[in-house]
Subunit: 208 residues, 2 copies
């Protein structure tokens, strides 16, 4: 089994720009990436690749292999799947609430594919036992698309139902989940900049 994490530091997380500067966003995604790598390692996954269109920010990466591919995310991942000769776990880099236990649960599925839905129709992780038989299609409603691709290719799938693994950090409101449910360096980083604002609706953020 191997894991691959698509990653791009340059100009990362533009939807967080209302609350974090470019420099802060780039620091923050690096912290999240490192947390995801640490969780994978702690779950016992030894072969970890970071797939990026650019070496920017990955010059000092020693915890994982760096693969550069300038192609679009889907093309790069599908090339990766074609060449993989063992089960592949694709995991997004913006999942600081993903724990080693989640990773063990996802990769121990009895089905051909395990799909972890993200917020807003997305796919946060995808475990594929036979990568040569599967192709990904991220963007848009990728969760439904990934379910269909499994079915259309005659493979069965499990939906991994987790609030924490399902929380990808893209919008300012997602930082609330990190503060409420998170731990580690990514949470600490946000915790130094914001506090929770308690109201009668959902909790919000205010700058410190």
């Amino acid at each position: 089994m191997r894991a691959v994490i698509p990653y791009k530091k340059s100009g990362a997380k533009s939807r967080l720009s209302p609350v974090l500067s470019l420099e802060e966003r780039e620091e923050f995604v690096e912290l999240m990436l490192n947390q995801v790598i640490d969780s994978l390692k702690e779950a016992g996954i030894e072969k970890i690749d970071v797939l990026s269109p650019s070496a920017y920010g990955l010059e000092g990466m020693t915890k994982a292999r760096v693969l550069l591919d300038e192609k679009d995310l889907n093309e790069a991942l599908n090339r990766y799947l074609e060449e993989a000769e063992e089960p592949v776990l694709i995991v997004m880099a913006d999942l600081p609430l993903l724990s080693p236990d989640h990773i063990k649960g996802i990769t121990s599925t009895k089905k051909d594919i395990c799909i972890v839905p993200g917020k807003g129709g997305g796919t946060n992780a995808l475990f594929i036992k036979n990568p040569s038989r599967y192709r990904v299609k991220y963007y848009g409603s990728s969760f439904l698309t990934h379910c269909s691709i499994a079915t259309d290719s005659g493979q069965n799938y499990e939906i991994y139902d987790s609030f924490l693994a399902g929380t990808d950090i893209d919008e300012p409101e997602d930082l609330v989940e990190l503060l409420v449910h998170g731990k580690g360096t990514a949470k600490d980083y946000i915790n130094r900049k914001f506090k929770l604002e308690v109201s009668r609706g959902r909790v919000g953020l205010v700058p410190l």
Copy 2:
């Protein structure tokens, strides 16, 4: 064991007012309430109370007992807990993705308390084995509060980690989750009014 569902139809779900009229919101919450009751029954829970400050919209309720209490949500629920002589599952009425399997999982916890986090720091469901020893405090960051109340009263707790049970329907973006992951009459209702709008970020809604 008994279940209690706090409910208020009148003027419900004001945060959905950008996309649904008052009349639509009131119809929609009634559909969600009925789905939650059906899931509880299917999970084998026979004693179900709907706790409401008003009889409005509950005149024809035959599937559950209706309890009227004009007090604030927390006061009404705490009075309910004080008087309960058996384990209590408090479940919110806006959880159309909550399944009978989730309910069985939550109520089979080995801990004293099982807490189901909702989006934005909320609490979507709370299973309390010894209700006379617990008090609720909804609003604000109630998830963290409910964890503390358990600890402070010497009771241990499980956090039930579910994307689906964790999706309470309060904001327009939550309707996207209902369309992507839901089924049943509440989904059908939203499906007749909106379609998913696919972009490179999270999926959005557009009116039909």
